[in-house]
C-alpha cells in the first residue's frame, strides 16, 4: 500500500470506499493513477463480522445524527435514522444483499415513456442501456453475478420455496433465485455461499461481493492506493473554478488537508449532497456544482415495503441467503395498473431482533405478538419499486443540529408521490396474493425500513441547467469534480441500484484516465 504526501497535488482523491468509490479506486489504480481513498469508517474483515443483528449494526452502520421531515412514515418511526447505510471500509457493500439487476432500456427514458406526471421531476437519462451494456458486462464479471458468465444460480432456500409456489399459482412467469453477486461456487479466490443467512451483517464466508475484500485489496496490490480509514471529509476546497483538495478529520480528531488533482465523491447520496452543500464558499455560495440548484434535490429511495405471511407449517425464512429469490413480472411498463414504473418482489428475512423492531414500529398488543409467535412459520418478501423524483424531496443542511465534528447534519425531506402510494398498494396486494395462494394464515403489510437505496441527489443531465453532473458523472460546473455513486441517477428505475453504481464507476474510470492523459483534468 502506498502513502502519498498531504501536499501531493497529483493524486486523485476518492471520498467513500463503498460500491462506487471502492470500485473507482481499483479501476483507477489498475490504470496507474495514484489514489488517496478517504473513508470515514473503520476497517473490518470477514473475521470481525458478527452473526448478531444489533451488534453488527453498531459495528457497521452509519449512526451519525441526521434529521428528517416530510410525510413519509420513516420520519415518524426513525426520525434520526432516515437511511440504513454503512460507515466502514467497503461501505454499504458490507451490508448489502447482493441482488444485481440491470436497469431496463425504457427506464433510462422515464420522461419519454411515463409522460408528464404532475409533481414529478421526471427526466430521461443522458445515457441509455446501449451505452452501459459493455460496462454492465464488466461489472457482472467482476462481481460474479449468478446467471451471468459461467456462474450458476444459487439454490433456493425455504423462503424461496414459498415465494416460488405462490408466484406460480398466481400465474407469474419470472420467478427464480435471480441474479446475485454471491458466489454459488468457489470463484475468484472466495468460497461459495454457505447459506449463513447473515448477508446484512457482513458475509463471514466472503461469498458475497464487497469492495472490502475484492476491489480494495486489489487496488492496494498495485502500490498506487493510499487508503485512509477513519478519515471523514468535511469540505472540498476550490480555487479558480477548480477543486484543489479536501479537508478531513482523521482518527485522532485532527483536521488534515489533502491536495488533489481531482476529487470523486462516492459518499452515498445523502452524504454526497451534504458535502457539496457544506463546501459553499465565496466562489460557490450555494455549494459546489450547484448552479442548477439541483444539489440535494430529487432524492429517491425506491418504493419499498415488505409483506410477511404466517403459515400452518414451518418455514425458517432466516436460513440461507437473505434475498434468495425474485419475482420480476411486475417490473414492466404498463400504466394500466394505475401507476407508471414497476416493482420487483424479492425474498427477505429478518432475524428475531430485527423482526421485532421493523415489523410495525411503534406497535404493541396481541395483533403484533401473534406475528412474533409465528416467527418460525413466517415467509417474507421485500418490494423494490421505482419512486418518482420530486424537486421537494431533498437533502439540505440542518444548521440547528451539529455532528461530532461541529458540522451541520443533513436533513432528509421526503413525501410519497401519489404514484408511489398507488404502486405500494398494488404491490401489497400482489404479495398477499402470492402468499394466500399457498395457504397464508395471516399477512402483514410492513412499512418501509430506513432507506437502503439512496439516489438522485446529484442527478445526471444533458442540460447543465437541469442537473448536477454530465453523462460521465463529471460536475457540469467544475471540470475536476466527479460524482461516483447513486447520487447520479436521473431516475430510480425498479431495480436494486448497486450493479448500476458499479457499472457507472467502471465507465467513469475510463473517462477519467483518458481525460488525465489528455491533460483535461
Amino acid at each position: 500500500m502506498a502513502s502519498f504526501a498531504h501536499d501531493d497535488a497529483s493524486v486523485a482523491v476518492i471520498i467513500g470506499s463503498g460500491a462506487g468509490g471502492g470500485t473507482l479506486a481499483n479501476e483507477l489504480t489498475q490504470k496507474g493513477v495514484k489514489v488517496v481513498l478517504l473513508e470515514a469508517g473503520k476497517r473490518q474483515s470477514s473475521a470481525t463480522f458478527v452473526n448478531d443483528e444489533w451488534p453488527s449494526f453498531s459495528q457497521l452502520a452509519w449512526l451519525d445524527k441526521r434529521t428528517t421531515s416530510g410525510t413519509w412514515r420513516v420520519a415518524k418511526d426513525f426520525p434520526n435514522l432516515p437511511a440504513w447505510t454503512c460507515k466502514t471500509v467497503g461501505g454499504t457493500t458490507t451490508h448489502w444483499a447482493g441482488a444485481s439487476l440491470r436497469i431496463q432500456d425504457h427506464e433510462f427514458k422515464a420522461r419519454t415513456h411515463y409522460g408528464d406526471i404532475a409533481g414529478a421531476s421526471l427526466m430521461d437519462w443522458p445515457i441509455g442501456l446501449a451505452d452501459l451494456e459493455p460496462y454492465y458486462a464488466k461489472a457482472e464479471a467482476k462481481m460474479g453475478v449468478t446467471r451471468t458468465n459461467d456462474n450458476a444460480g444459487l439454490p433456493g432456500n425455504n423462503n424461496f420455496k414459498v415465494m416460488y409456489n405462490g408466484a406460480k399459482k398466481v400465474g407469474y412467469k419470472k420467478c427464480s433465485t435471480g441474479h446475485m453477486a454471491i458466489n454459488s461456487h468457489y470463484r475468484d479466490g472466495r468460497s461459495g455461499c454457505l447459506q449463513l443467512g447473515f448477508c446484512f451483517q457482513g458475509c463471514k464466508s466472503g461469498a458475497k461481493w464487497s469492495t472490502l475484500y475484492t476491489e480494495i485489496p486489489r487496488a492496494e496490490a498495485t502500490g498506487k492506493l493510499d487508503l485512509r480509514p477513519e478519515s471523514q471529509v468535511v469540505t472540498i476546497e476550490t480555487k479558480g473554478g477548480k477543486v484543489t483538495g479536501v479537508v478531513y478529520v482523521d482518527a485522532s480528531g485532527q483536521q488534515q488537508r489533502q491536495k488533489a488533482r481531482l476529487v470523486a465523491v462516492a459518499a452515498n447520496s445523502i452524504e454526497t449532497a451534504r458535502l457539496l452543500l457544506n463546501s459553499a464558499s465565496n466562489e460557490f455560495p450555494d455549494g459546489l456544482a450547484n448552479s442548477s440548484g439541483q444539489v440535494g434535490r430529487n432524492y429517491m429511495r425506491h418504493l419499498t415495503a415488505s409483506v410477511y405471511a404466517t403459515f400452518e407449517q414451518p418455514v425458517h425464512m432466516y436460513r440461507g441467503t437473505t434475498m434468495a429469490g425474485i419475482v420480476q413480472d411486475e417490473v414492466r411498463l404498463d400504466p394500466s395498473r394505475g401507476f407508471v414504473g414497476g416493482y420487483e418482489m424479492e425474498t427477505i428475512s429478518l432475524g428475531l431482533p430485527f423482526m421485532a423492531a421493523f415489523l410495525n414500529p411503534g406497535a404493541w398488543g396481541s395483533e403484533f405478538t401473534s406475528f412474533i409467535d409465528a416467527y418460525s412459520n413466517t415467509a417474507g418478501m421485500w418490494i423494490v419499486g421505482e419512486d418518482m423524483p420530486q424537486q421537494t424531496n431533498r437533502v439540505t443542511l440542518n444548521h440547528d443540529v451539529k455532528d461530532a465534528n461541529g458540522q451541520p447534519v443533513p436533513n432528509v425531506h421526503y413525501d410519497d408521490h401519489p404514484n408511489d402510494l398507488a404502486m405500494r398498494e398494488h404491490a401489497y396486494k400482489a404479495g398477499k396474493a402470492i402468499y394466500d395462494a399457498v395457504g397464508a394464515k395471516k399477512v402483514a403489510f410492513v412499512p418501509p425500513y430506513p432507506s437502503t437505496h439512496n439516489l438522485g441527489t446529484c442527478r445526471m443531465s444533458e442540460d447543465p441547467k437541469l442537473g448536477v453532473v454530465d453523462k460521465h458523472g463529471r460536475a457540469h460546473d467544475i471540470p475536476n469534480l466527479f460524482i461516483s455513486d447513486g447520487s447520479q441517477f436521473t431516475t430510480g428505475a425498479g431495480e436494486n441500484p448497486t450493479l448500476t453504481i458499479v457499472t457507472l464507476a467502471i465507465r467513469q474510470s475510463d473517462y477519467i484516465a483518458d481525460a488525465m492523459s489528455k491533460q483535461l483534468v
Binding site: R319, L352, T369
Partner: protein, 190 residues
C-alpha cells in the same frame, strides 16, 4: 449467557438489602427454556428501581407484548434493562417512577394486581406519554434479542459456528413441492 438475570436463588437477606429490591420467579418445568437456564429459579436484583416499580414494569411489559407461554423470566429482562439505565440517569429514574405511578392511578390502585382488562385500559390511557415510549422501546430489544427468546420463538441465531445452514436445513421445507432446477438449481460443488 452471562447477561441473564437467571441465577441460583442464593440471595441472602443481607445481599438483598444492598439493592433496592428483587424479582424472583420460576420457569415452568416443561418449558424448553428450563434446559437453557442455569436454574429454573430466577432472581433479578434491582439496583435503582423500587420493588413495587419493578413489579409494575414487569406486568406492564406483559400487557404490551403478551405471549401466552413466554416465561416471566424473559419479561424480567425489560426490568433489568430499565433498572440499569435508570441507575445511570436520574431523569430516567424519575420518569420511570412517575410513570409507574400513573399506571397505578389509571388502574385505580395497583397496576400489577389489576385485572387484565383494567391493565389494558390503563396502558391505553397513557399511550402518548414519553414513559410509555421508553418502556415499549426497551421491550423490543430486551424481549426479543436474547437466547431465551430465540429458543422460545424458534430463531436459531448465529450460524457461522455451524458452517451455515447449507447442511442444516436451509431448504428442508417439505410441505410445498421443490421448484424446478432452472428456477432453483441444485447445488454443485462449492
Amino acid at each position: 449467557m452471562a447477561d441473564l438475570p437467571l441465577a441460583e436463588p442464593t440471595l441472602t437477606r443481607s445481599t438483598l438489602l444492598r439493592g433496592t429490591g428483587a424479582l424472583i420467579g420460576t420457569i415452568a418445568a416443561g418449558s424448553i427454556l428450563a434446559t437453557l437456564a442455569p436454574s429454573r429459579v430466577w432472581a433479578l436484583e434491582l439496583t435503582s428501581l423500587s420493588q413495587p416499580d419493578g413489579e409494575t414494569i414487569l406486568s406492564f411489559a406483559q400487557v404490551l407484548y403478551p405471549h401466552a407461554t413466554l416465561p416471566t423470566a424473559v419479561y424480567a429482562f425489560v426490568v433489568r434493562d430499565l433498572d440499569k439505565a435508570a441507575a445511570k440517569d436520574p431523569d430516567l429514574a424519575a420518569k420511570v417512577h412517575a410513570g409507574c405511578g400513573s399506571l397505578d392511578a389509571a388502574a385505580n390502585g395497583s397496576f400489577a394486581k389489576a385485572s387484565p382488562a383494567a391493565q389494558l385500559a390503563a396502558a391505553k390511557s397513557i399511550e402518548g406519554a414519553p414513559f410509555f415510549a421508553t418502556v415499549r422501546g426497551t421491550c423490543i430489544t430486551a424481549l426479543y434479542d436474547n437466547p431465551l427468546a430465540y429458543a422460545h420463538f424458534g430463531y436459531e441465531g448465529a450460524s457461522w459456528p455451524r458452517g451455515g445452514y447449507l447442511h442444516h436445513g436451509f431448504n428442508d421445507l417439505t410441505w410445498l413441492p421443490n421448484p424446478p432446477a432452472d428456477a432453483s438449481p441444485t447445488l454443485g460443488s462449492l
